[in-house]
Amino acid sequence: MIDRAPVLRLEHIVKTFPGVRALDDVSLSVLPGEVHALMGENGAGKSTLMKVLGGIYQPDAGQIVVDEKPVVMASPLEAKARGIVFIHQELSLAGELTVAENIYLGELPRKRFGLVDWDTLYSRTDAILEKLKVGFDARTLVGSLSIANQQMVEIARALTVDARAVIFDEPTASLTDAEKVVLFDVIEDLKAHGVGIIYISHRMEEIFRITDRITVLRDGTHQGTVNTAETDEEAVTQLMIGRKLDLSRNVSHHEIGDVALEVRGLSCGHLFKDISFEVYRGEVVGFYGLVGAGRTEIAETLFGLRDPSDGKILLDGKEVRIASPAEAIARGISLVPEDRKGQGLILGMNCRDNITLPQIDDLKAGPFVDEGSEIAIFDKYRDRLDIRTPGWKQLVGNLSGGNQQKIVIGKWLAMHPSVLILDEPTRGIDVGSKSEIHNLIRELAAQGYAVIVISSEMPEVLHVSDRIIAMYCGRIMRTFTSDEVNEENLIQAISGIGTENGNSTA
């Protein structure tokens, strides 16, 4: 396959951030007409590498070669000018504008006096859309298109420049099966035109269906590049993990109590379907899956932020309807949300006020808030969780990520819940606080809390969970006990490989 010159080469790229070597001597080359998969677990360095390629980060060492010429990608604009085009997972389109306007945004063809040359705009756009064989035209409003078709608009935008390489980042995350077929056809078409393609995905089935070579990263290092035809899922998984269960799984053995939470056949539109599981007191249940697998949406439903379309929720054996977070809290369910700053904290308020926020109604002395008992509660949880802050007056916006997360957890512990749900509890938190939070989660279970941990980091779920529920596309694929789970079967379950085994429990 090396008979053609690569359109793009990343050579010995090194990138460090304070305290982290995000990329360590990583190389990647893309041949014309090749689909090259880039794989690795979360945090392996895929995004960093692509940001280097896109001119968002500058590498500390190494070089980028486009069409055999070394280049410096000084900015995203420069990357685009050199024919490197990104199709992001998150679409960035203006819904109120037409397809044509979106495609030529910023470079609309003009006539005299700066007027837009609509005829040229629409005819050029239609020419591109014809190549893509899509079912809409240049005048369609982008907002009225399906996600797949919006992705097509992004791709059409890529075709307005003379694309040498196109990077797809998890393009199928929000596509239906039929829409995927259309996308794969387009990729075939790009291939046929000699464009090089980098395809980032966790989904094995797709990788083996459309890619020619696979490069695997782990912890910022290049683990190898293999021809897709000469390898299999197991070998790739092995490369991604790189080790056989060298993680100590810290499942301390303590008494498991009664069922605290039971979920039966819970569904919510297309977000998740037929979810059944139970959580016992004293147990940590981990939810593992790809972004978009529906884990957060289940948590939001249990917390009253979404109305289920079907199914039952039982607390202590009694069926309940949870219409709002206020009701969830009253019934003893607490949620530490995924986005700490956006959903969990009042950044402009001090530490004490954030911790007592859900319960100040019960902390009154006459008409006023009893600040004395508030401070007592703050002191208690500062000591218990080792929250490092100069004092209760400190605004939570000024704390580190780890201490902010402890404030959120402390806020809920102060409510004495029976079910504690933690969504990505250690995202963006330094290593030290991370292990403190892991220990805390185990400790809480030992004290009899029923704990649900949602995480996209495999070591984390393996480390803290008594049982792990693997989800894929809104469904439970398999429930593992801590004895039977390993990194391999877990990766396979969340990539949609293997049989559905939704209701098995330990």
Partner: protein, 333 residues
């Protein structure tokens, strides 16, 4: 020193520094430019200034809590006029004829209840429809003003009750009745926002509504209560002012909403919610009133006064933005 203390001090203290600057400027400039012999900082003049601050100041306290909560109320001027009409007209209703001066508290109560009801209507619509408060109160501003005109056409509504006038013009410890009302409202609202659950939750909702909901706070009722409070305060402002003047034109209170918002913003409350101080709003209304009075004192004509206030508002907010920029790494949007 704790991080952020200096900038907090600058933000909180800025409005008072501005007021001192105004006092010095007008005292000095007044020596040369004023047509009258009286000094600008004459005690009587200052007491009068406080009294004149009261109508806008009372409403501004309500606007502060509305804005901290993340909303806005454009209907306060119309509410003010409508409540004034209810006050003056109800004093003459035949059914109250037998009450003598006993009609006064009844008329006051009717006007205040009207204010609360109008505010509650705003709040209920914002709560139940989820439509932005800006749009809802833009509509009610027009609607309530329409009611004012329906009541008496283009005619002023007038009634002078001398007992009421005496009460409104009275001075106690040197301060006028209206000033006392302003001070009382300021203290009450300060306690509400800084010491009660309602105040705490209002800040939380304005700062991060999602996080507030996730903490189990019921957002709607808090917003509705705040709208009822501002309705009540707009009515109270009308009651205090018209007890003395005794005559309301259907155009009265127009642009009040904008003056009030100007004062609140000048006091440092954020339009986006979650941050603001009652005491600084007090400073904001004082600063504006000082500016109007001071400019008049040195012989500036009315048109120029508005131009100057507008420029100062923009300059102050630009300065505030510069002080608050976190650094060059901030996103350019």
């Amino acid at each position: 020193m704790q991080a952020g203390t200096l900038s907090t001090f600058l933000k909180r203290g800025a409005i008072w520094g501005f007021i001192v600057l105004e006092l010095i400027f007008f005292s000095v400039a007044g020596e040369f430019l004023s047509l009258s012999d009286k000094a600008f900082m004459d005690a009587g003049n200052m007491l009068l200034l406080l009294k004149q601050t009261a109508p806008l100041g009372i409403i501004a306290m309500g606007m502060t809590i509305i804005m901290i909560n993340g909303n806005i109320d454009l209907s306060v001027g119309a509410t003010f006029a409508l409540c004034a009409i209810v006050l003056l007209d109800s004093l003459t209703w035949p059914i109250f004829a037998g009450l003598g001066d006993g009609v006064i508290p009844v008329a006051w109560a009717l006007a205040l209840l009207t204010g609360i009801a109008l505010g509650a209507l705003n709040g209920l619509i914002v709560w139940k429809t989820g439509v932005d408060a800006f749009i809802v109160t833009l509509g009610s501003m027009l609607g309530y003003r329409g009611l004012v005109f329906m009541y008496n056409g283009e005619q002023p509504t007038s009634h002078l009750n001398w007992t009421l006038v005496d009460f409104a013009e009275a001075q106690w410890l040197g301060l006028h009745t209206a000033t006392w009302f302003l001070l009382f409202v300021t203290v009450a609202i300060w306690f509400l926002m800084n010491r009660t659950v309602h105040g705490r939750n209002a800040y939380a909702i304005g700062d991060n509504r999602t996080a507030a909901v996730n903490a189990g706070i019921r957002v709607g009722p808090h917003m509705m209560i705040n709208f009822m409070i501002i309705g009540f305060l707009a009515a109270l402002s009308a009651v205090v002012f018209y007890s003395e003047s005794g005559s309301v034109n259907p155009n009265d209170g127009e642009l009040y909403e904008l003056w009030v918002i100007t004062a609140v913003v000048l006091g440092g409350t954020k339009l986006t919610g979650g941050s603001g101080s009652i005491i600084s709003t007090f400073g904001g209304v004082l600063a504006i009133q000082l500016l109007r009075k001071g400019l008049a004192h040195i012989g500036t004509n009315t048109e120029t006064v508005n131009l100057v206030i507008g420029l100062i508002l923009i300059a102050v907010l630009f300065l505030d933005r510069q002080l608050n920029l976190k650094g060059k790494e901030e996103l350019k949007v």
